[in-house]
């Protein structure tokens, strides 16, 4: 058995919360810079230029790149040989508490009906899976509401097939317009069940931009969807232009013979994701 102390998890989570808010990952930064070089619209270039200047300032001065430092979403893979000396959930929540306080991040979590802020950005949303081995992998994806609010889920009829899926994805992005802070990354979950397609869509957003989908069919679908979305003309911040999405990521899972669940989870240009292995 590999012993892991929960206080180490708390420390790592604290640091991840702060660095995710301030330091944009290179895959996203490079995709935005590539879009800036290609964008034809003058206002589109102005917006992309400000976005690049912004994440460079945030990185240098250790400032949150966006004031919406998000609700804290985690994907945790626990090796089956790992033994913890306490609660994983408590350790992660304590890390969030410390990170959001000590990193001067905005606390954006509240009771859904009473709308009272919990004051420390907890509870985190934690998805856990048991895997082989003796390591603990923690992935964080703080999620802002601007893009999350534009996300959708639909139970399609199997007869609607791939054209139905494409139509739903493109319509979702069209209706979102400038709200989710384009250029966006579009996460699509196909199949599974009602809740699973949403989790697949979210999980797909954690894949680094520019890495091909290992499934050839899904890779092709990603390319076709990206072209259709960028042909909408929404552009950076919705002011018109060629860059509406930086990437489309699709994950799929077998589903019931009578179902075709599809979820579209939109990620803004501040595509924050970090991971650590203990």
């Amino acid at each position: 058995m590999k012993q892991i102390a929960v206080k180490d998890i708390t420390q790592k989570v604290r640091d991840l919360c702060i660095s995710a808010a301030c330091n944009l990952e290179p895959d996203v930064a490079n995709a935005i810079k590539a879009a800036f070089r290609k964008e034809e619209s003058e206002l589109g270039r102005e917006v992309l230029g400000q976005i690049i200047e912004n994440f460079e300032i945030a990185d240098t001065e250790s400032l949150p790149m966006c004031q919406d430092t998000g609700i804290s979403v985690f994907f945790v893979e626990v090796g089956r040989e790992v033994s913890l000396d306490g609660s994983l959930v408590d350790a992660i929540n304590e890390g969030v508490r410390q990170g959001y306080k000590e990193g001067y991040l905005r606390k954006s979590v509240c009771h859904p009906l009473k709308r009272l802020n919990t004051g420390d950005n907890t509870p985190a949303i934690i998805h856990t899976s048991i895997v082989e081995g003796g390591k603990l992998k923690i992935k964080i994806a703080p999620k802002g509401a601007g893009s999350e609010n534009m996300s959708r889920l639909k139970m399609l009829k199997p007869a609607e097939g791939i054209e139905g899926i494409k139509g739903f994805v493109v319509e979702t992005i069209k209706d979102a317009g400038g709200n989710p802070c384009p250029p966006i990354v579009v996460g699509v979950g196909i199949g599974g069940s009602f809740e699973m397609c949403a989790i697949l869509a979210k999980k797909s957003l954690l894949r680094a931009i520019g890495t091909p989908n290992p499934d050839a069919d899904l890779n092709k679908l990603e390319g076709e969807l990206l072209d259709q979305i960028n042909n909408l003309g929404i552009g950076p911040m919705g002011f018109g232009g060629r860059t509406t999405a930086l990437a489309v990521h699709v994950e799929a899972h077998p589903c019931h013979i009578a179902s075709l669940p599809v979820a579209v989870n939109i990620q803004c240009h501040a595509g924050r994701h970090k991971e650590v292995v203990i």
């Binding site: 619209s41 102005e46 912004n54 790149m65 430092t69 002011f239 018109g240």
Partner: protein
């Protein structure tokens, strides 16, 4: 690339009439922050026939909930939030004399009608450019609803705050015009 237009806040009718959808602007002067919770309270005061904590005549509201400032900082990161969530409240504030709004994303029909009728302007700042935008904010002071934390109403003094005109008094709409120009029918 066209040069930005410099405007001062609060705004006058004459200043608003000069602005066209698509103009890049730099705002210098005073703006007030408010988002969902503060708007709700303002409308509740109006419903109760009470006075607002700030006279909105000529003013600009910036839809923002900043991160907490570190010791010595004027304000934390402070980019725009989605304006559409304020649509239910905005027309009444425009009727009271509110002249400008800064946020991100599209507005509803009632807001666009009020903008034309009462001569106001809707501007967008770049969503997510919060560390850049904070540099143009030179002073920030909470004037109401401190208990709302990031959603408290703040009086900001800004210099060269970068924004883009989205909806002007003539019915111009940058979102419609921009998409029309770059859309490819497949």
């Amino acid at each position: 690339m066209s040069e930005p237009v410099r405007i001062s806040a609060p705004l006058t009718d004459a200043a608003v009439e000069k602005l066209k959808a698509g103009d890049k602007i730099l705002i210098t002067g005073v703006m007030y922050t408010a988002r969902d919770a503060a708007h709700k309270r303002l409308i509740e005061l109006l419903d109760a026939g009470k006075e607002l904590p700030v006279d909105l005549k000529g003013q600009i509201i910036y839809y923002v909930g900043p991160t907490p400032e570190r010791p010595g900082q004027v304000i934390g990161s402070a980019g725009p939030t989605t304006s559409g969530r304020m649509d239910a409240y905005t027309p009444r504030l425009i009727e009271l004399g509110l002249k400008g709004m800064v946020g991100k994303g599209a507005r509803g029909k009632e807001v666009l009608d009020a903008i034309k009728k009462h001569k106001a302007v809707y501007m967008a700042a770049v969503g997510g450019a919060a560390a850049l935008i904070r540099r143009s904010i030179k002073k920030a002071e909470i004037i109401a609803y401190e208990d709302l934390g990031p959603e408290a109403i703040r009086r900001l003094e800004v210099v060269d705050f970068p924004a883009i005109v989205v909806n002007d008094v003539y019915g111009g709409d940058l979102f419609l015009q921009g998409v029309e120009k770059y859309r490819r029918v497949s």
